[in-house]
Symmetry: D2
Subunit: 458 residues, 4 copies
Amino acid sequence: MIVEKVKTEGLAHLSYLVADGDQAIVIDPRRDTRIYERLATEHGCQIIAIFETHRNEDFVTGAPVLAKRTGAQVYHGPHPDQPIEYAKTVEQGFQLQLGRLRIDVMETPGHTYDSVSLVLYDTEADNSQAVGVFTGDALFIGDVGRTDFYPDEAEKVAGLLHDSIASILQLGDHTILYPAHGAGSVCGGGLSDREFSTLGHERLTNPVLKLIGDRDAFIAHKTGEHHYMPPYFSLMEQRNSDGKAPVLQQELPALSYEQFKEKGNKVWVDVRSVEAFSGHYIAGSLALPVSMIAAYAGWLIKPEHEIVLLADSETQAHTAYAHFYRIGFDNVSGYWQINTNRWAVKSGQVSQIEHIGVNTLAGRLRENPDLQILDVRKYDEWKDTGVISGAYTAYLGHLAEKLGGLNSSQPVVVVCGSGQRATVAASLLKVRGFDQVCVLWGGMNAWQEDFSTEPYTE
Amino acid sequence: MIVEKVKTEGLAHLSYLVADGDQAIVIDPRRDTRIYERLATEHGCQIIAIFETHRNEDFVTGAPVLAKRTGAQVYHGPHPDQPIEYAKTVEQGFQLQLGRLRIDVMETPGHTYDSVSLVLYDTEADNSQAVGVFTGDALFIGDVGRTDFYPDEAEKVAGLLHDSIASILQLGDHTILYPAHGAGSVCGGGLSDREFSTLGHERLTNPVLKLIGDRDAFIAHKTGEHHYMPPYFSLMEQRNSDGKAPVLQQELPALSYEQFKEKGNKVWVDVRSVEAFSGHYIAGSLALPVSMIAAYAGWLIKPEHEIVLLADSETQAHTAYAHFYRIGFDNVSGYWQINTNRWAVKSGQVSQIEHIGVNTLAGRLRENPDLQILDVRKYDEWKDTGVISGAYTAYLGHLAEKLGGLNSSQPVVVVCGSGQRATVAASLLKVRGFDQVCVLWGGMNAWQEDFSTEPYTE
Amino acid sequence: MIVEKVKTEGLAHLSYLVADGDQAIVIDPRRDTRIYERLATEHGCQIIAIFETHRNEDFVTGAPVLAKRTGAQVYHGPHPDQPIEYAKTVEQGFQLQLGRLRIDVMETPGHTYDSVSLVLYDTEADNSQAVGVFTGDALFIGDVGRTDFYPDEAEKVAGLLHDSIASILQLGDHTILYPAHGAGSVCGGGLSDREFSTLGHERLTNPVLKLIGDRDAFIAHKTGEHHYMPPYFSLMEQRNSDGKAPVLQQELPALSYEQFKEKGNKVWVDVRSVEAFSGHYIAGSLALPVSMIAAYAGWLIKPEHEIVLLADSETQAHTAYAHFYRIGFDNVSGYWQINTNRWAVKSGQVSQIEHIGVNTLAGRLRENPDLQILDVRKYDEWKDTGVISGAYTAYLGHLAEKLGGLNSSQPVVVVCGSGQRATVAASLLKVRGFDQVCVLWGGMNAWQEDFSTEPYTE
Amino acid sequence: MIVEKVKTEGLAHLSYLVADGDQAIVIDPRRDTRIYERLATEHGCQIIAIFETHRNEDFVTGAPVLAKRTGAQVYHGPHPDQPIEYAKTVEQGFQLQLGRLRIDVMETPGHTYDSVSLVLYDTEADNSQAVGVFTGDALFIGDVGRTDFYPDEAEKVAGLLHDSIASILQLGDHTILYPAHGAGSVCGGGLSDREFSTLGHERLTNPVLKLIGDRDAFIAHKTGEHHYMPPYFSLMEQRNSDGKAPVLQQELPALSYEQFKEKGNKVWVDVRSVEAFSGHYIAGSLALPVSMIAAYAGWLIKPEHEIVLLADSETQAHTAYAHFYRIGFDNVSGYWQINTNRWAVKSGQVSQIEHIGVNTLAGRLRENPDLQILDVRKYDEWKDTGVISGAYTAYLGHLAEKLGGLNSSQPVVVVCGSGQRATVAASLLKVRGFDQVCVLWGGMNAWQEDFSTEPYTE
């Protein structure tokens, strides 16, 4: 009896292969499904069914592809916003036997209308006491799912989620919790970075669950949250309904220097670490390290644009490529194994982004109190820690629309938590014609060690 | 916050790395400790402490070596049978903070006097509600630890275990259970092959836990169990007290054909699959596939003998070597990448072990009702399924002493569950001069599909 | 300046990536071309051209696929038997500059009419002294190419080859020799298993080159050779002219036991080692270990049949799959990770092939001088070593047509050099209803150590 | 018959495993010898002998260790400067049979007095025509060995080398050349980056070999060369005579941030790419990317100093560690997986090295003609390409002694070929208190594209 968790970095997405004997099911597969087939082979079993806990909006589902390759049936909950063309609908009470294990479907709407949870029983041990529950985006460790997808029905769906979670908790404290996301997901804010819990431990410690039983307070809490919704979500909704996302080419072509430099309408995306980017980069490229693609590509790049990657290695390029196509960006056409020295020889040009420490920033602020500080973090972070006095706040996802608030001919110091997002923002400013841009390395984590902030006001 | 499980096949041993931020602890490390260091590095943390849940008897502890390499402190429970020279004693109530996690020591004697359980708290979530508990050999999934190590105090220690488990259950149903063994271990009989559970699920479904609260019934159950104790356990007891197991050479030498064939006093152990062994083997060698080394080497080979391996590949040889040294067999001196063709050319000799199916066996029994059937399974298996009518029963670990009950000049068909252990037994019979030996492939699993058995009586 | 040799086992085929700076060419690519792209990436270069030394008959060319993926131009020599639709024709004197290297085309017909050799110059060192020459199937280390493909023009093409080799030798003793095959190829008989040589060393030591200068003697030698031509060669000729071999699916599906056992018209091919096969196999399957697929699949299986593999592991199955599709067998539809124990449990059936040593065979022959001995080696081997007295000779590729010469109700001992081909033959006899079949393990290599043979007469 | 070349990057060292049947020899093994054992195992053979072509001065020999592990005999030429305590002396005419291969010793002094070449014969093909020759540091592709190790006998040893090479050439044009170094080695200047040649091709194209036959011209050429001799060479001489280099610990410890930052007397060496270094580094560390360790560690670091590495990954750290111990630097005590963000948070400090392009440099020179330019290339490079007008030249290996020629309170632009060595030099200047240091990225390769140089005068 096996539960294998497949964690997809960037998306902070958790999918699962559950198996007994020589049969397996997969729950919420991602688009590149080979990993599930490999796991099934390792455990000597065949994938017979695929469950989706809901119509995902943050990544392209792998269910249709995996179903075609393995002959497995896809199951999906009732009441999707659009018909799920590749799946069979299953309702409350549906059961699937898997060797000595059994999977029961429990309808748990709220995050979406079609959300279900999947309850796992070890029938050899006991038919009625759940071993675990796969809660999709209904219940996380430390938080619950967001309920802002139906703005006109905000209170209704928050109430549904309340009731769904109350039902889930009825399974008993002893039930292991298997959610669809961990910390870092765009699908929830307060997720713990602990990845193991039980319904009982959540009941006792998850702050949102304290509100279960007080439906109005729960609704008030949920409708008062602040979430960001990347533009590509609507694309995902379409793709995950019709199941027609094309199969991708298997290998991303490596481009020669000559092939690379013919820019045309291509977007150059540098997926190296921001540390490497800040040392040398190719003028005109956007910094977007692999780990940030899932969260920010949807904001910073239009899906219809052709993308060319700059990467340290073939491995890095292929990983980045997967991060792109998992969220439906199918226009990555190649990568250049970056050689900044060659660029320097051929173009005579070398680009660096200055990174400074907090002491340097403090010194500059003393000399120039009007120095522009750009803070690209999120609303919840500004609220939590405050901001550097005088900082201009613009969420990185909204930055392109908010550039008007900055003077491009004057110096800008970009700030985030650590310096990661700030480097991405700095690369965007450079593309947009700002030329005195630097990054606070260490970010607010460093600033708060030694210097004061002021409260954020909208 | 991370709990990484390290599963050691063969021993069915589970050890753990627990980490938060940049600190980690290891619980019950095995002898080859590089895996813990690698996990710590992957997660960007340093091992600061090592806990042993008890003085292990089934494998050589890696705690002293890992402590020396990393500078970590080893902690061990009170009242060991012999002093644990490399560890600091910790008692009920000892606490260790690990980033936002906390580890509390709980004394849980019974399996041994020095057994402790380690309770895990996420102090960011809650200071008093356990997230998980590492129970060592006190509580398993589907069973509890064996209590036959102190024959003179059998009832006393069984009673202690009862009380320990009752205390563990007080942590609450929501607590995740992290035991030190899974199915297949020599440290318990009825372990589930499910490797995830909670105290609540065990309370509700583990058959032995139904007896918690009825101390006498629990003691009666435990003292009525039938366990086997391999002779090497006493060697482990010594090694795991003084911590002086030598560091092993890193690479097992590959032997040439010429080096290999000078047998002398060496024991040739063929660690290939029993399927491969049955196809071709070198006369005089003992079959012991990698997966069976942990369970049977201690019975079939004396630790002081020099061992030479026959293996398909370097990888297989090194894996087998690790299986040997984990249980303290340090005398493996090399391996020969087996080439039976070369052996055939040089010696003119080819050895095979006949494997037959159940229909063939049934036919032979009809022709010769006195055909010797040797059943090498365990007591609990004989009891559960019965035996083939007329079978001579001898546990594989005891076979060498029980050969007197068989006629070496007449055919013997060796039987176990599947044919694995039977092939090992057949290779032993061959070494001891039996020359008409064959194996029932499919074993009792196959036999029971079509033919009847009779009850086992001692 | 790089010459990377890619050796394809089974076919004993040598292809090459030659590179300088950031440009590379590939010579005679095999069908699965990813390896050339990976090598190019490793060396930081792009594949700009692909050369074929001739229209290959023993494997499916990868040139059209590789050209499409990389944008490289394919070059092929003049006078092919059928037009090469995907290539540009190049003639004597064509030159391609590759960084500081230069490739010159030299027409070297004989093996085929379209054969060319490619001469490599390091122009930085010298423009007129060759560094190496890629001779395709014209000149090998220790032998020259076969000239039996045009039976009606046997003397003409042998004469052409004589002249071609004489021209090649004009490049000078110092020229490194890079042929298209090594020992074990079906494209030549006397190839050395040394894989490095020069034109000078061949001139001095290659026995066939002693005949250069005596055209008639060379022709007589070549027309007197004995070669086998597998039926799939004609399929290759078509494929390698039109370049339309389909792109294959990337991953071979793993079949469950249930999927596997529905046999229908499928051919079960067991690709494990013959040692493993002889220990346990599934009745009805053909033994064909990975290393023998290239040489014998074309004889033993019809390309239009659906093939299902039995393999030890996913890796082995995928390797075998590649060996099949490289020679144009595109009908491999899946593999079963073989579990003979499960088969035994479900079917009650266990199959083994008896392997015996030479002493046992000698004993049986003494008891039964009429015992059928089947020798499945090649003509040249029978000639070289003689045969066991009374042996029935049938080349493994011709065995199916020659079974009439054996009595299927009497015992047969199958013999080859080592026992490899004999096990394949034994599996075929079993499928054809012979039931007393055994294999001489060690084969003639072992027999000759201790026993006598008699000369082979046709 | 196998010749496997093992290329050791950094040292540009070529060692060889030569094998036939189940026996192998190794020529000039490096200190970490596991690779030879693995190759031998892959080819199914045993290492029976180890040859050294001379007492190496640029790396620690692996011969004594490999001999101990495998039981092989070490052979070394006559007349070493100090006795080779672990080897048997072999002289002109010594022969070793290796299956069908044969190795003949040929004395070829000049580079050192104890230099020998090893001539390879395929006795199956021919007993008297060499297939290849392993020339150690006597003859390279495109150059010959340096002869500056005996300054008092410069002409004598140059003459000896002349005669040795003349003898080697007697083996015949067809003989494949296997030298001990490729391009990039400190053991020769004009080595080709082609790694395949023959005696004939060298005779025809190697410029130094044009002088063979004119002994005086050859001597004049050799004694007029300019070589650098790193201080660690003398350490190597001792180690490679007594064979007592200690066996190293197998795994380099990973240090926590706290362990790392206690600097004490340790030398922090940052082995990341110079691109990464220039983006972020830890003040006080020396840049020395892995590929430059072999060439420059011996100049920039004293062997007795404790070294701590800063690396991107465990793999990079271990590779760097090997580069250090191969040249006898055994004092690397650990590595920190560098996290510059953490450093920034904890210290408030961020360090970058400015990299500029040629256009920027030209602009600065126009503004400030007295701008200090430091050129850290080699004598031969200055001679070949000239230098930027006004540049201060100091070979990187000599930089520490030549800092007096620069003004540390004024800006310095450091220049090399590409920017690699310049970044190393810049890190050294920073440690020595220069604070306005920048690097010309693209280096002289870029400068020469667009700007002029002036001839170098000593």
